[in-house]
Point group: C2
Chain length 417, copies 2
Amino acid sequence: MKAEIIAVGSELLTPFRLDTNSLFLTSELNQVGLRVAHKSVVGDTPDEMRSSFEHALERADVIVSSGGLGPTDDDRTRQTVADLLGRKLYRDEEVLRSIHERFRRFGRAMPEINERQAMVIEGATVLKNPRGTAPGLWLEARGHIIVLLPGVPQELRALMEIEVKPRLLKLGIPERLYTRELRISGIFESDVEQRVSSLYAQYPDTETTILAAPTGIQLHPRLWSDNPAKAEATLDELVKRMSLALGEHLVSTRGESLEQVVAQLLTENRATIAVAESCTGGLLAERLTSLAGSSAYFVGGVVCYSNELKTSMVGVPAELIESKGAVSSEVALALAAGIRKRTGATLGLGVTGIAGPSGATPEKPVGLVHISIADEHGPRETPIQLPGDRERIRQFSAQRALNLVRRYYLFPTLGRA
Amino acid sequence: MKAEIIAVGSELLTPFRLDTNSLFLTSELNQVGLRVAHKSVVGDTPDEMRSSFEHALERADVIVSSGGLGPTDDDRTRQTVADLLGRKLYRDEEVLRSIHERFRRFGRAMPEINERQAMVIEGATVLKNPRGTAPGLWLEARGHIIVLLPGVPQELRALMEIEVKPRLLKLGIPERLYTRELRISGIFESDVEQRVSSLYAQYPDTETTILAAPTGIQLHPRLWSDNPAKAEATLDELVKRMSLALGEHLVSTRGESLEQVVAQLLTENRATIAVAESCTGGLLAERLTSLAGSSAYFVGGVVCYSNELKTSMVGVPAELIESKGAVSSEVALALAAGIRKRTGATLGLGVTGIAGPSGATPEKPVGLVHISIADEHGPRETPIQLPGDRERIRQFSAQRALNLVRRYYLFPTLGRA
């Protein structure tokens, strides 16, 4: 069965905003067996909204809309859908009471305009909104299901989970979407594609989306099936073969982030870590501290942008910077060893490189980055050449530095980031 | 005149990907006087694609599609649109030659499947793709303009700018969209709304979108007009009145980021800065170093997550941390003064707070953050209580710390972040 998502709101037709609700809605719809065949965005002009709903009725079994249920003149989803279906709107006294009640709870009187949110389409089931004043509406008409939800993300999510999904589950669609999420680090998107693409043809029932984010490459294999055991087995087998093809670059197979994997490795090894970073400018520390509880393993770091700070705070000899340059293997090694010594952490990480756009020389181009790790046996280091602009080089560098910690524990004999 | 954007690609109907091309396309279409009335996303199923194009032909003057022009079996935009218009596809020998040529330039032979990209719809104008093998197509049919573009963002952008926009300008649409972008920091979205919303009714021709990002609130007033001088004057007046209403919280009126404003203030004052941050975990340093050329004013920073590091690297007395707690006015002051002294920077910034989810006490709840700034006259500090989860608290804290630098220069008698 097919679903269609309609996002209502003129601000979603500006160059500044995207309809992100549809990602969540898609995931929920897929889980009850509905495939999303179309998504659309429309402003709050009644004619244009009517056209969107009309076309959706021609081609989808289930239509879910977001937005246009607020209290102002611009909120026209209720009226438009009522008109399209030839039904009347009436004021639902119970809904009105609950809106009054909600305002009272926050110590305010209900503004008159909010009365509009108590208008309900004839024959609709009211879906109580636990997070706001606009209820959702569930309609069955001409063999279709139409669900109207508010656009505020937390209200839409709560209504979808509590009210809509259980009702859709009752449709009893035997098919479901089964998914996996693989994370990969240390190679580029095209390398990932090359390693796994021959598998696609061998698993023709599956589809795989590849996604390149600053926090690593993701592979999302997925499969529609009415046979859960067979679907899971097929995905397990595909994931296993993908894992073999990806080798040491595979970070996780159930969507765990590189930060999570590194946190787990440090915790299991009762290790702490400290960082001395130059070109990443704090990004490496930021990622290491992004998880709750990171103070258990992250001691701290120095963002040593100036050469003076590399010397005064991390103990890199000034002569070394002078003779080898701030971006060099030698300085990277001294950063990792120095921060480890100064902080007493189990491991020290060092990053120095040229993020650009300026600062490059013929021998040291933009994108050249040295990443180092030090333990009680001393530091080791690997230079990499990264593509992209300043922002991407900084992001890739932080990613590779985190990946070096993962590799340090899992592949101790391999040096590369 | 109305435009409609259709994004083609089954991966855009998964929970993992959004059609971001449409933001760029919208901005370009608005600049030539076209309003975007609908956007839609469709997979690569011919029936469903046909339905999207059919409906767009009913309601839009100009249709721009992205995607589905690649060399594989899944790339069906050309065939679908040809069928819908009742036109034939033919192989364009010149296009084929230029695809061969492109492969040759990269030292490869053209794979046979790429021949498909030389297929052109009868009557179409071929738009040469400077960044890839798939040319764009420009069609005029039934009083509509249909533009087919590849989905790869850099190819789509180049084709839109070089080939499509000049042709659309020839339509001579007298109306244009005029816009401004205001950045605001130090207050929340609802406060911004409250301060400026009364202006909306006084400028009924304008529409304003408000956008809350971790990097501050943005206001985007805009206005369709065929009178450039009048439009600019109206927006100037509205922006002036918004600026008065926003007062000291206004960061910029032409879209400059807080980082850019802070960089300019530091540069104008020939000042340098260093940071000692705890709960922001490197994010503050990361933002200060995000701009090219930041090494001119950013000396460096310490991410002092552990109390030991606050003492050893920033010189915060251990007794002070012991008696007042790591999250306290006193420690914040000592962080700013200490990092300034250790680094020799003109200004020192200190941040300490409880990002959560753990670490809170009845007196010190999650979201309590102390932000401090020190100059040659000593440090000053302001406590703030921030809402949201760990990630938002970290982001807000970094934002408020940057804002404190702006306020230090522009409103020296005011202390708040």
